[in-house]
């Protein structure tokens, strides 16, 4: 089985470096994008199995990125972990519409993120097998 693909989109380099490093240790294939536009081109040429994206990014916001990803058959149902600034409240309606699986406030625990990623990929894999 090929390594699960994870797209990591955030304009804060220290976050992407931190998360990418931890997830690569678990054997996942990671692509990093520094803004929403770049992330969108990655999605089109390299459809990921999971997206971890910051909410506030230049050019295309995290939420718009996910809404666009939902229009592509390959990424229509994949899990999404949205990173937000602590204290920032995302509207319930937006979460539902973009089918955000999890919200994490920064600064978050990398360990918990890594556990969450494993759980989501596992669920994904089970759903894929069942289908």
């Amino acid at each position: 089985m090929t390594a699960p693909r994870i797209l990591l989109a955030d304009d804060e380099v220290h976050i992407t470096r931190l998360v990418a490093r931890r997830l690569e240790e678990s054997g996942h294939e990671i692509r990093v994008a520094c803004d929403g536009e770049e992330a969108w081109s990655v999605i089109q040429e390299w459809p990921p199995n999971l997206i971890i994206t910051d909410l506030q990014m230049p050019y295309v916001s995290g939420i718009d990125l996910v809404l666009r990803a939902r229009t592509q058959p390959q990424t229509a149902d994949i899990p999404v972990i949205m990173l937000t600034a602590r204290g920032y409240v995302l509207q319930e309606e937006q979460i539902k519409q973009a089918k955000i699986t999890h919200l994490l406030s920064k600064p978050f625990s990398i360990r918990r993120l890594a556990t969450l990623v494993e759980e989501l990929l596992e669920q994904n894999e089970q759903a894929r097998r069942a289908a």
Binding site: L18, E24, P107, F108, S109, I110, R112
Partner: protein, 543 residues
């Protein structure tokens, strides 16, 4: 040797070897003792020649002879054959040597060439053809090549150092994030109305997630003064190799053996956990107002580094520093709540005492109301509030003359009217106490009837607050079950039949069935107790 702690980064040896190959130099790697740990990765005849024992022995001997010195010039091994030896340092220590072999045209006439071909059983002419392209250096160009190799190694060492620094920062940043996340979570749960056990369990779970220990635990002092609410308790989270009971026993033994318990300890020899002493255990005291309330413990560290780090101790210290004040708050809250309830009980006992027939009535109504509230599925907090409302429901009787309250026989209209004032009087007494906002409607409306025929507001159906409907059933039940000035107590069966028959007229029909299903054992005990107290006192209920 990898300069980086993970594999995605450049191995300086690989890089140097690759670049040297492009310059026509074959590269060996030796450890500081001169033992070759890798050869050039050429294949075929060239590979065989690089492994020729005469050649590799010459290289090893040469490195060995350096005895830690750094050569400044290429070392000539034979005619037109030089070794460029460059040390590679790692964390300021000699990690080994890179040995690059540089050849000139005359090399093929040398002893070393002929002997090396012989030792590898290679044909001299064929080997010469293979090597000819590489044998293009002279003394000057070898010196230049050496300078280049040294620059490359120096640069790669700097890159390695920087990479190590970044990795270090990354680990620190990651640890800082874990710490902040833990502190946020603990701070957040401090403000939640959690039971102390819940808070401590949640705190242990969070700190366990942030650390590499197999288990974390919290053990509290048996002294209720030092560890209020949780004295003598033990909580743990994780997967220790031993059972929870054995873990608890081992922790207790460990805690008892500490001569200075108010300080943090990292213990390496723990026979209670492992006959051989076992891995390290951290013992972090939990202090409450300067007193030792207990300990947080963490044991069986896994992960990359089995040694306890300052990150581990900081996390446990932070957790302990939240648990201490939480216990303090829980203790203050409990004291305050006990005082509040005690005051209410004293007040209601005083009211009940006005009427010898209603001794203990308020407490019994409180008990039944709470039971009924739980039976209809209300939340624990709401049940507690309904209990309080039951306690104070008759507080307004303080404003009704004792002569009327205790009058045997029928009451006239004026007396009846005076009695019917008590819910409104109770409302007036309590209405300005903000913490009783949700209680007061229960006091004001507990004599309303489902059919709208009650008092004081003649509310009907669901317009009557639920709290008042609940107290109404409990109040009537206790009144019918007790002797009154104007009639003796009714039997349990008769009381229950009466309650059932009044569903939909006097009582909310949805409360009646759950009420009839209650267990009245504790209620009967309360009646017994009140009876015994009355007999011991001056009041004789049987009279």
């Amino acid at each position: 040797m990898s300069l980086s702690s993970h594999d995605n980064h450049l191995d300086p040896y690989e890089v140097v070897a690759g670049r040297c190959a492009k310059l026509g130099l074959a590269v060996w790697r030796c450890n500081p003792a001169g033992i070759i740990i890798s050869e050039p990765d050429d294949e075929g005849l060239l590979g065989l020649w690089h492994n020729a024992s005469t050649l590799t022995q010459a290289i090893a001997r040469m490195v060995c002879e350096l005895s830690g010195q750094t050569p400044t010039e290429p070392i000539q091994l034979d005619e037109s054959c030089w070794a460029i030896i460059v040390p590679v340092t790692w964390r300021n220590r000699l990690g080994g040597y890179i040995v690059a072999l540089a050849l000139g045209e005359e090399f093929f006439d040398s002893d070393l060439f002929n002997k090396s071909c012989a030792s590898a059983q290679l044909n001299v002419a064929t080997t010469r053809r293979c090597l000819r392209e590489r044998a293009c250096l002279n003394e000057t160009s070898v010196r230049q090549a050496m300078r280049m190799v040294r620059w490359m190694v120096d640069d790669l060492e700097s890159v390695g150092d920087l990479d190590e620094t970044v990795s270090g920062f990354t680990v620190q940043l990651s640890n800082a994030y874990e710490t902040i996340d833990l502190l946020y979570a603990l701070g957040h749960s401090m403000n939640e109305p959690n039971e102390p056990g819940q808070f401590i369990t949640a705190a242990l779970e969070r700190v366990h997630t942030a650390m590499d220990f197999a288990w974390v635990g919290a053990m509290f002092s048996d002294d209720a003064g030092a560890a209020p609410v949780v004295h003598g308790k033990f909580y743990s989270h994780g997967s220790p190799t031993m059972s929870k009971q054995r873990l608890q026993k081992a922790c207790r033994g460990l805690v008892g053996s500490i001569p200075t318990p108010k300080e943090r300890h990292i213990l390496s020899d723990n026979p209670g956990f492992d006959p051989d002493g076992g891995p390290q255990i951290i013992l972090q005291p939990i202090l409450r107002s300067g007193r030792l309330a207990g300990f947080i413990l963490a044991g069986e560290k896994g992960g990359i580094d089995p040694q306890v780090s300052s990150y581990d101790t900081h996390l446990l210290e932070a957790t302990a520093s939240y648990i201490g004040p939480f216990l303090e708050n829980a203790s203050l809250y409990e004291t305050q709540n006990r005082m509040f309830l005690g005051t209410l009980q004293a007040l209601t006992s005083a009211i009940d005492a006005k009427d010898p027939y209603t001794h203990g009535h308020s407490e019994r109504v409180a008990h039944l109301s709470a039971q009924l509230a739980a039976a209809v599925g209300l939340e624990h907090e709401r049940v507690e509030r309904i209990h309080i409302a039951g306690l104070v429901h008759d507080v307004g009787k303080i404003g009704v003359p004792e002569l009327i309250l205790g009058k045997p026989g029928r009451l006239d209209d004026a007396e009846m009217d005076a009695i019917r004032q008590h819910p409104a009087i109770g409302h007036r007494i309590l209405q300005d106490i903000p913490v009783l906002d949700d209680i007061v409607p229960g006091v004001l409306h507990h004599h309303e009837r489902w059919d709208g025929d009650g008092y004081p507001a003649k509310l009907a159906g669901n317009k009557i607050p639920q709290i008042a409907r609940i107290i109404g059933v409990a109040d009537t039940f206790d009144a019918m079950s007790s002797n009154r000035a104007y009639r003796p107590a009714m039997t349990r069966d008769k009381v229950l039949a009466e309650i059932r028959s009044c569903a939909g007229s006097q009582f909310d029909p949805e409360l009646v069935e759950p009420f009839l299903g209650l267990d009245f054992a504790e209620y009967d005990n309360m009646v017994e107790r009140a009876h015994a107290e009355s007999e011991n006192g001056s009041v004789n209920r049987a009279a």
